[in-house]
Assembly symmetry: C2
Homo-oligomer: 352 residues x 2
């Protein structure tokens, strides 16, 4: 604590990302990265960036990339916002749509960045408890509120909420903004983007870090009514006119244009997930139903904290959250088949 | 205005960057970009980024880049913060060090993003009028305040404040954070970085967009006491853990490592500036003394607004601010010799 810090800097409680260890090479199943590299077309596009363009500011409105994403979804670029990863986009959302006063609603077990944003912007919130099976009951999101946000599929559980339930939440909260955080939607769920032209209160947030294998490039996006997008632009343009550099914009556009590669790799991840689930259930693990690129698991006899530690010693990183209700679970990212085979082998030894 | 916008989104007054026109090719002297490309080593470094690393999150602490910049200045990496352009770094500074209540101080004619940040974060401010010659009188920054920020050299005037005056401001405000915004310091001024180990209240903000020719890559930095850097990290980690992508970090590091290229290009720009000043004075222009990569000029007979318009029609973009005290001035970025020759030729016709 420093006397020079503002009241805000003193009170905030920053997010701690999953570790990026430097000490040795791990099988990294702790930050939901994609085991497959991005489309080769992404790198080709980045390599098209020249020193002549690097000296010039990028387009502050990111028109080409927004138009490309809009076309992908059959929308207009005025319905698309892009930013420096979905974390930045979510931060801008909290500032653009939520107020101090009436609490916003989000699940008690959810993306742990939400309470961080809330504290930063002085937004009150009410935690909605998940059901015992970690599902999200839509009717609990219909009490008076200042806005709603939830991931679908949820993190760190991986559970997906059917679109009919999402639509009911949109209908029942038509006077508030409802943010559906779809970081993991491409691994088997259906996107709420199909509701964009029907609900002016809907904002869908997505990322290229997971299903498009671009965690290292920092591109996220929001899709919604043009008025919501304008609200996000206003906040962005009060902070930083150019949040996406030329390499990121070029790479992101190339990723959206290689649909075949996208379909192939996400299908491979889903196939590996299903195979891994069967293997783990055989070892006595409970696996929460997942439509994400990770699974949330708990063992009947061995404590999650112990498994976490033993895996780490064997060179496999997974994520352990020491929090109420989930402190006997591990979140395991879906790697490639070889990585998951190593995981299952180690777990076989650990739970024997 | 939308009913879904927060009170913050409604009240803010976003910054409008210099235009990046798409209609035709201009000689662009309007956004202080560098006329020379970045070091070829920057592109080589970016091209080292592989698809295998792009799928992985970058280092959220940016350790390598911070260590590289720290070494450049003979400091430690704990004294260096890096972000997505100096605009983002400045936004974080306002949030990390300034409070509502006691007004912060900045010049009335200055970087027009400062009041935007202040409005966003609800920070009160008091404008300190520049002297008639656009210089900044240090004694006016010594009244009770909640913090101080000024560019050195100032923008859009280009006027430099000698380091002795900067030091006096630091001494007289030892209980508040003093931010010296050195976006243009590499074009002839002396950096306040030399005071870092002496004044715990000093934060120097710089950018790679100007003197390192990397506007398209979005990298800015802050240098200060480790407690101030920690304050910035806290804010950053409450918004976005990874603000710099892998291409930006690799390119920025390469730029800092090519000192010879940096010296050559900045010297070329300064030489062109001095030559242009002589040419313009010959045409009857008043040129404010500049240690930046731009000059601030006014003509004795022809209105700045008219010159702006006529230059635009001839394919030359400069920046015109329709604001009190400076509405008969133009800010002209220093291009290469060929571009400045075209400018002088056009101006010769216009003021004839």
């Amino acid at each position: 604590m420093s006397k020079y810090w503002s009241e805000v800097a003193k009170k905030i409680d920053p997010y701690v990302p999953g570790e990026q260890p430097q000490d040795k090479r791990y099988i990294k199943l702790n930050t939901n990265e994609n085991p497959y590299p991005p489309s080769p077309k992404v790198l080709a596009a980045i390599n098209q960036v020249t020193t002549e363009t690097l000296r010039l500011y990028p387009d502050p409105e990111c028109r080409e990339l927004r138009a490309c994403i809009a076309e992908y979804h059959g929308l207009t670029k005025e319905q698309v916002f892009v930013g420096n990863g979905s974390d930045e986009v979510l931060a801008f959302c909290f500032q653009a749509f939520f107020n101090p006063g009436t609490p916003i609603l989000f699940p008690d077990i959810s993306y742990s960045f939400y309470p961080v944003y809330a504290k930063l912007y002085n937004i009150d919130y009410k935690l909605i408890p998940l059901e015992d099976d970690f599902s999200l009951a839509w009717d609990k999101f219909c009490s008076p509120n200042g806005g709603v946000i939830f991931p679908n599929p949820n993190a760190p559980t991986g559970r997906y909420m059917p679109l009919e339930a999402v639509e009911t939440i949109l209908e029942k909260n038509i006077d508030q903004v409802v943010i559906v955080d779809e970081a993991y939607i491409d691994f088997g769920g259906q996107s709420a983007v199909k509701f964009i032209n029907r609900y002016p209160n809907l904002l869908v947030v997505q990322t290229l870090s997971k299903s498009r294998s671009l965690a290292g490039l920092r591109v996220g996006l929001a899709i919604g009514h043009k008025d919501l997008i304008e609200g996000l632009e206003r906040v962005k343009n009060s902070i930083n006119s150019y949040t996406l550099d030329r390499a990121a914009m070029a790479g992101a556009e190339a990723a959206f244009k290689d649909e075949a590669y996208f379909q192939t790799t996400r299908n491979m991840i889903m196939a590996t997930r299903e195979k891994t689930i069967v293997d783990l259930q055989r070892l006595g693990f409970t696996v929460i139903p997942s439509l994400a690129n990770f699974i949330f698991i708990s063992h009947s006899r061995v404590l999650a904290a112990d498994i976490y530690q033993q895996l780490r010693e064997e060179g496999i990183l997974v994520r352990y959250f020491n929090k109420p209700r989930i402190n006997n679970f591990l979140r395991v990212s879906i790697g490639n088949d070889r990585e998951m085979k190593s995981l299952v082998e180690q777990l076989t030894t650990i739970v024997r």
